[in-house]
Amino acid sequence: MNNLKLFKVLSDKSRLLILNSLLEESMVVERLASRLGLAISTVSFHLKKLEDSGLVTSKKDQYYKQYSVNREILDQTLSDLVTLDENPLMKDRDEAYRQKVIATFFSDGVCDQLPVQKKKRIIVLEEIAKAFESKKQYTENEVDKILKPYHHDHCTLRRDLVDYGFLSRNNGVYKKII
């Protein structure tokens, strides 16, 4: 379901009033129209939009159509609703950018120059942090031994990994932060 369509449908006072009524109980168009003081055709127009967005469902009951709210959609949280289907696309773009930064700053697994720009520096540090095992404890010497092949200034690297939250340091013991 298209969430943008859903928000558009919801941004109308009459439709919210219709939903309010339907939250009380299922109703037919005529009853909604008399309750809201609207023409039957206007209520039908709104119900069609609500039905198309999935917020309302209808069931034929002899000659009349009974309208009800669709709890499955209405009970979703706002964070569910603001999540767009385009998220995977954004993730793909982020990954492409990450790969570009890595290709620029690493040459045969060695980082000749640390990026000055924070965003790029974090990507480089994140890549180097992969050399550490999670849950394992490291001494400072062990950390330096791992970092030396990556960059000549391993002290700056070590400090950065702690400052940017990739490693924790406690009484000279380092641990990878997941």
Binding site: S11, D12, K13, S14, R15, S41, T42, S44, F45, H46, K48, K49, D52
Partner: protein, 122 residues
């Protein structure tokens, strides 16, 4: 004809004004779609007022005027009927829009015919 012309033009102008004001009120009340429906009505009023004035200008007799004006009530809504039928088949929201145009045109035609009966038949 003078009385009919005056009544028709005054009434249609009043309906246009009323629809404009209603649309504004509805927009302010976060009822955008209803405001748009009101604008559709306004548009239909405007079309037939123009056709009325055109018929007045282009004809010389009462009967020719009536015939020309009423012809517009057959030709203009023709496409609306086709669109409404298609929308009904597809269960599309456009059904309500086309239906509103047709109903508004019918209202104008009925008003014209009742004015004609009152002022021109006697």
């Amino acid at each position: 004809m003078t009385q009919l012309t005056e009544n028709y033009q005054t009434t249609l102008t009043a309906w246009i004004k009323e629809s404009k004001e209603t649309a504004k009120k509805l927009e302010k009340d976060f009822k955008e779609d209803e405001a748009n429906l009101e604008k559709i009505k306004l548009n239909v009023y405007d079309i037939f007022l123009k056709m009325f004035n055109l018929s007045l200008k282009k004809t010389e007799s009462k009967d020719a005027f009536k015939s020309m004006y009423l012809k517009f009530h057959k030709t203009i809504p023709k496409n609306w009927h086709v669109a409404r039928d298609k929308a009904r088949e597809k269960e599309s929201i456009d059904f309500y829009i086309e239906d509103l145009k047709i109903k508004t045109a019918n209202k104008i035609e009925s008003f014209f015919l009742s004015e004609w009966d009152t002022h021109e038949q006697s």
